[in-house]
């Protein structure tokens, strides 16, 4: 019997950290108490995307959206809404600028402008139940492919759709499959790259946690197209829940005969193994990932011979990103024409001619609505940051949006109307990357951000080739000295020269794109570098050597909160009278600035 209400509870990593499982327990208890077991079902789902508002419960079929619930709220919620039928306003989402809440999920600005293909099942299915996936047309595309299409037709369809690699490379997926199919070899392999290493990116994690079967189905279709019998999923070990859900999904698919020998009685064999990465950013690079799968150190090799011809164990191998694979079943079902009508450019003759379909971005940093968004290619950055993201918190001024992770760059306000696609972002000196988008505001120092990425990459460079290893070390040294107020006149020239050398001479994409954070900030924010070097000034108030904390005697009420929290105990003064900071002992930790309720601490 169908349930009267379905409570869809997000159990992605972020909501779980916000105690989603306690909410489930409390709901179960209250529902039982009111004898509603037969009418109200609780469905744990994958990530809803609106991570900052968790834990989230969406009540279907009406789509009522409840947020930031605590276990204390549950008895009231169950009684009012689920028993008496009165949705509870106080738990609904309320945008910052208005008083009235928005009850229905699809009308919340964060969700309204999204278009879901890769995330088509988000919040609608239980990721740990294969029947839920099948009920939403799951494995139908695999059945269609196996029963009515030749591998060549599959490749043709994917090529015509214009689907390009969502991991950041933007290589046309169909072309990759074609080369792999044509390459001679004892065995062919399909690998799913789930080593989502970019800091600030969590699209792939959310797809796996919310809809693992969509990735498995995509892999099986890829395997049929290229002629592979064995697939591997390489997941980073920092994502334990994703590993668990993949393993469960594989087992369920095997039990249903959707993986293993003679799939759907069509004579096609394919199975998948999950392997954990061990925390190396460079393993997102195809050859390094394959080396790691072989039980070796994850170092890239020069790609004179492409991995589609000689990849894993020197056999023809197709490596696709999680999101790319999740798109595949939908393209097979709805057709290449439909897919290529979404997005920018014309891919009918040249698969590089445009960016079709949608892209999932993880929006984080200084933005009101942090979370996961899927939007059609070609949407402007301004729409993502301000319409969907709801702008910058606390009325601060937007400075830049960082796209593409450590290999990407910073895009300034003047380019916010840029359409988001592979080529436009590359032209602007950044890149699509895997889809991380971190917004920074006037309180973030651009030099410090560049230093952050270079230090990250310095630690992650495998050290095999000199331009990357030594170039990053030299860049890091220069950036650190600029941040410490010891910058030299010719430091900017040196950074640019180092950057050019690394782009031209590095072995793999990690080194080749590593200077991007520096080069793009030099392109758009050169004056901030110059201020640091010439005037010893950090306008954002971040670089410690260049700032001081003082107390404004006009605003200080002498409440002593800062004095009590100061780890150096260097703030003194009489109660209820203005206080002072002893500059000689101040370590510039900024605790006083954070805790002052009267904005009396000045950071300059």
């Amino acid at each position: 019997m169908p349930y009267r209400l379905n409570l869809m509870i997000c159990t992605g990593t972020a909501c779980v950290s916000n105690r989603a499982f306690d909410i489930i327990e409390a709901l179960e208890k209250e529902i039982k108490k009111h004898n509603l077991d037969a009418e109200v079902a609780i469905v744990p789902t994958g990530c809803n995307g609106f991570c900052a508002q968790g834990p989230i419960v969406v009540v279907q079929p009406d789509g009522i959206f409840y947020q930031r619930l605590t276990t204390k709220d549950i008895p009231y919620l169950v009684e009012e809404h689920f028993l008496k039928g009165r949705p509870v306003q106080k738990f609904m989402y309320r945008p910052p600028e208005r008083k009235e809440p928005i009850p229905v999920m699809s009308e919340i600005p964060f969700f309204k402008d999204q278009m879901l293909i890769a995330l088509r099942n988000r919040g609608l299915i239980n990721p740990e139940n294969i029947d839920d996936y099948i009920a939403r047309d799951g494995y139908k595309a695999l059945a269609k492919v196996l029963t009515s299409m030749t591998p060549e037709q599959v490749i043709q369809e994917i090529t015509a759709s214009g689907l390009r690699g969502r991991g950041g490379g933007g290589f046309p997926t169909g072309i990759k499959w074609k080369y792999c199919r044509q390459a001679p070899g004892k065995e062919h392999y399909v690998i799913c790259n789930a080593d989502e290493g970019d800091p600030g990116a969590f699209m792939d994690r959310s797809i796996i946690e919310g809809d693992p079967h969509s990735v498995l189905e995509g892999m099986a279709i890829a395997a049929y197209a290229v002629g592979a019998k064995q697939g591997y999923i390489y997941v980073r070990m920092e994502y334990p829940l994703a590993v668990k859900r993949f393993k469960l999904a594989i087992q369920q698919a095997r039990d249903y005969g959707l993986l293993g020998k003679d799939i759907l009685g069509c004579g096609f064999d394919f199975d998948v193994e999950v392997r954990r990465g061990a925390g190396a950013f460079v393993c997102g690079e195809s050859t390094a990932l394959m080396a790691s799968l072989e039980g070796k150190v994850g170092e890239p090799r020069a790609k004179y011979i492409h991995t589609v011809e000689a990849g894993l164990w020197m056999q023809p191998t197709v490596l696709n990103n999680v999101e790319t694979l999740a798109n595949v079943p939908v393209i097979i079902l709805k057709g290449a024409k439909w897919f290529s009508s979404i997005g920018t450019g014309d891919v009918s003759e040249n698969p590089w001619g445009g960016s079709t379909g949608t892209k999932v971005f993880s929006l984080a940093g200084k933005v009101n609505n942090t979370g996961l968004v899927e939007v059609p290619m070609g949407i402007s950055l301004r729409d993502i940051v301000f319409k969907i993201g709801g702008g910058i918190p606390k009325g601060k001024k937007f400075k830049a949006v960082q796209t593409g992770g450590p290999s990407g760059g910073f895009i300034p306000e003047s380019l916010l109307d840029l359409p988001v696609d592979f080529d436009a972002l590359t032209e602007a000196g950044s890149m699509m990357g895997s889809g991380g988008m971190v917004v920074i505001d006037e309180d973030d120092c651009i030099v410090d951000m560049a230093r952050y990425f270079i230090d990250f990459l310095k630690g992650e460079s495998c050290g095999k080739c000199t331009p990357c290893r030594e170039g990053l070390r030299a860049m890091s040294e220069i950036l650190n000295r600029i941040c410490e107020g010891k910058g030299q006149e010719d430091d900017i020239d040196k950074l640019e020269e180092l950057g050019r050398t690394m782009v031209d001479c590095s072995l793999c994409a990690l080194g080749g794109s590593a200077p991007n954070p520096v080069l793009s900030t030099l392109r758009y924010f050169r004056e901030e570098y110059e201020e640091h070097i010439k005037q010893r000034k950090c306008r954002a108030g971040v670089c410690r050597a260049l700032i001081t904390f003082t107390i404004d005697p006009e605003k200080c009420t002498g409440c002593r909160v800062c004095a009590m929290q100061c780890p150096q105990q260097c703030i003194s003064g009489e109660a209820k009278k203005p206080h002072r900071i002893d500059q000689s002992r101040c370590i510039k930790c900024g605790v006083c600035y954070d805790v002052c309720k009267f904005d009396a601490v000045i950071r300059k």
Partner: protein, 156 residues
């Protein structure tokens, strides 16, 4: 580290079995050993090298290459401060400073009483909760330097 580690032969056998006693699973084998012992003890790596017939140097190459592995014993509680971009812009470096002040250890170090180990992680992918700290896997979101001591007190 003067204490002599007792090598549990059976445990190693079991882990190796899980991975077909094959060198192609070396990365996975080391992960399981680390899960068991919370670090990679030298005695056990020697045993693995012997059983798999792989040079010890190759095992050490892997053990020192990947960030997940550590060759030093860790403290009772493992503090991980996320250093992802979103956490960075929301103040992760100052969270590290606060832990350093509180426990007098730097990232990668363990307190003298072996109670806490401080480590940083590249990105936990909970960017919506930034800045994020985990203690023994328990996730704390929207942490401020002032909140650090309160969190650590729970593990005293």
């Amino acid at each position: 580290m003067s204490e002599q580690l007792v090598v549990d032969e059976e445990k190693i056998q079991e882990i190796l079995h899980r991975w077909e006693t094959s060198p192609r699973f070396l990365v996975e084998i080391l992960q399981d050993i680390q899960e068991e012992y919370h670090y990679l003890p030298r005695e056990i790596l020697i045993e693995v090298s012997r059983q798999l017939n792989v040079p010890l140097s190759r095992i050490y190459h892997i053990a020192t290459f990947f960030k997940a592995f550590t060759l030093e014993p860790r403290g009772k509680h493992l503090i991980n401060v996320c250093m992802g971009t979103a956490c960075q812009v929301k103040g992760a470096p100052r969270i590290i400073d606060a832990v350093e002040r509180e426990l007098a250890i730097k990232p990668g170090e363990t307190t003298k009483d072996r109670k806490f180990t401080l480590e940083t992680v590249r990105c936990l992918g909970c960017c919506g909760l930034a800045p994020v700290v985990t203690v023994d896997g328990e996730v704390y979101g929207q942490v401020t330097p002032a909140k650090v001591s309160k969190i650590l007190k729970k593990y005293d």
